[in-house]
Amino acid sequence: MKTPKFLLPIATAGVLALTLSACGGGGGGGTTAGGDAEQGLDSRGPITYVQGKDNSNVVRPLIEKWNAAHPDEKVTFKEQTDQADQQHDDLVQNFQAKNANYDVVSVDVVWTAEFAAKGWLQPLKDKMALDTSAMLKPTVESASYKGTLYAAPQNSDGGILYYRKDLVPTAPKTWDEMMSMCSIAKENNIGCFAGQYAKYEGLTVNTSEAINSAGGSVLNAEGKPSLNTPEAKAGLETLTKAYADGSIPKEAITFQEEQGRQAFQNGKLLFHRNWPYVYNLAKTEGSSKVKDVLGMTALVGADGPGASTLGGHSAGMSVYSKNKATALDFLKFLTSEETQKFYATQGSLAPVLGALYDDKELVAKLPYLPVLKTSIENAVPRPVTPFYPAVTKAIQENAYAAIKGEKTVEAALSDMQASIESASAGQ
């Protein structure tokens, strides 16, 4: 028989390959973080800062400044892509591999709980405590999990209600007031109000805003879903009713941020809920028809300002970092007044320090700051839960069906409730 001879080299090679590659693989989803969180608390040395694409060139100048002052504790910048999903997956992979070179990482507010529950983020308490007294409260809450701070709030974001100053005499204060102004839109043959209602993350933002503004909440203080409430129903109904009666135009079901902004800039909307970035574009873009009539106010709720959903990023420290003392100093540097000012002026990133919103110099540069401050002060973090990916899918799927009228509001809310309960029940 000659076959065994033939197979021998191939078999040897195959076995060797499998053994080698098996060494590279690690266990998935382990949570033996207890030990790692105690390591390297006092050591100093070079660290790496990981963040998504630095579009407005704010990170590099900041790191240069830090490096000039700390020649022995230099920070290296690792730039990820500009896609949030890819950034998330990249972080997950490196945390799972216990990569010690991902010392300080930028985390989206919605990832904080997940990463904290996996035991990947260093709790910022005791020796590693960070002073958060000057920061806006909602930004601190969104960086905390189970009452412990897990990341340093870095920049914030809140919704703003843009409106047409030429058509709306006084900015509305409540949802009903705004809806009563829809007759103006009808007279002018334009849409009344739109946010983002395509089935994606933006729909979660808009749905939880509607629910929070009516006094409800997606998750209660214990992190359990609380959607079978009259408040949640009233909240979601604001959207479904407005869509059914045409106050929210039909095409808004396809709107992400950009499509909505285009419609508003083309003069086809009376009111528009969007993020602060719209301000500069609507003011300066040549094609914008609302340049001179752009009004801004806080989001509207049942009886007063609405509860915006909070966006933004925090800076977390990896438990696998070798130089945590340096990392903590770097977090303090990122949240210092000077850095926050630089973020605002250079990158139009909303600060987390309350005082900066009243800074005359800054307000002159970024006129939306006072409105944004009201928005963020009244903001509610998006549901803080380690099961966020499942929670956001449950909200999107059911809110989308409800707004389109394929499902009653009650059914949508109880399906949301059941989906979230099932997701957090684990397998």
Binding site: A17, G29, P386, P389, A425, G426
Partner: protein
């Protein structure tokens, strides 16, 4: 890792290279073939190693993972803990659309969970596959027949046709997203107010149109290659015998191009069954455009082990379709080539 194995095979040629010059008959030839074969398998070893690392290991690892439970949350510490062995529960949960119940055990997946979308995603995947492959085959055939003719600027047409195929799918999807936007070119051009991504039928057709636009050239080129294998004399003979154009197409072109056509259809079908980027970017899977691949990617963010089970199921489905093609429909990807090789000798 593969390079570390390099030094060992190098020793072999001394024993393997020489016997070829001996007489053409007898034991010497057998030895020559044997050592040649051994030599060949040493040469193949690095490739086998590479394949084992990049294909075999991930597949085995994914299958092992699919029998593990996903991490659950410890209610006291708020930290995730390992799930432990799961048996076939990950698989049965998908197939029977069962989700974890809050008090333990399972319930039928409520709408809004990924688990509730398994069968609809399977249906969507096959719907897309059947419709797009059919359209692409018809249009591709038509394009191939045009490109097979000789006319001025033929090579320009052939190159131009490839442009949609050369654009990365993610870019294609983004382009079509602009076209299908409410205020986009699509609606402006035809003066319509269709919400392309806002309800089921338009959303599905948006994906189908974009996919057909992108991959018909691939079909056309594969079929064109098959068409050019048909000798012109056959057509001439048929013409002399008075066969009509339709008869020539049905009796000559179709049977002779069938091997190439089947391979093209097989490739496209397998490709379409794992369609991901186009619907993911165009519609985010809304309005019943979630394919199995989109479901896998969404599940990865919610739990690796369950996602591993789902991708194994997807793999089995695609494998079965490929098997049916090769076994019953005569799409012989491998034999076709060896057969042709033997013919030439």
């Amino acid at each position: 890792m593969a390079t570390e194995l390099g030094p060992t095979p190098v020793k072999e040629p001394a024993s393997g290279g020489t016997p070829i010059h001996h007489g053409p008959k007898g034991v010497g030839e057998d030895n020559a073939i044997a050592s040649q074969g051994k030599w060949a398998s040493w040469l193949l070893a690095p490739t086998i190693v590479a394949l084992a690392i990049v294909i075999v290991y991930p597949i085995i690892s994914a299958i092992v993972m699919s029998f593990q439970k996903d991490a659950g949350l410890d209610p006291v510490t708020g930290l995730f803990t390992e799930g432990g062995p799961a048996g076939f529960s990950n698989y049965t949960n998908w197939l029977f659309q069962q989700c974890a119940a809050p008090g333990g055990g399972t319930v039928a997946c409520p709408p809004g969970t990924l688990g509730s979308q398994f069968w609809s995603a399977t249906g969507t995947t096959f719907y897309f596959t059947i419709v797009t492959v059919t359209l692409e085959t018809i249009l591709g055939f038509w394009m191939a027949i045009i490109m097979a003719r000789t006319f001025r600027g033929r090579s320009l047409v052939r190159a131009a046709v490839l442009v949609p195929w050369a654009i990365p799918t993610a870019v294609t999807a983004q382009l079509w997203l602009f076209i299908f936007a409410f205020e986009g070119i699509g609606n402006k051009l035809f003066n319509t107010t269709i919400l392309w991504t806002g309800s089921e039928i338009p959303a599905r057709w948006a994906v189908i149109i974009a996919d057909t636009w992108k991959t018909t050239p691939f079909m056309a080129l594969l079929i064109l290659a098959g068409l050019q294998m048909i000798p012109a004399e056959v057509y001439e003979a048929a013409k002399v015998d008075g066969a009509s154009a339709w008869q020539r197409f049905r009796m000559i072109t179709l049977p002779l191009v069938k091997p190439a056509l089947m391979v093209a259809i097989l490739f496209r079908t397998l490709d379409a069954l794992r369609m991901f980027d186009l619907p993911y970017i165009l519609t985010e899977g809304s309005n019943n455009t979630t394919t199995l691949s989109i479901l896998v990617v969404n599940q990865i963010r919610q739990g690796f082990n369950s996602a591993a089970a789902l991708s194994t199921i997807t793999f089995i489905i695609i494998f079965m379709v490929a098997f049916i093609f090769v076994r019953f429909l005569g799409a012989n990807v491998v034999e076709q080539q060896t057969g042709a090789g033997k013919g030439k000798k």
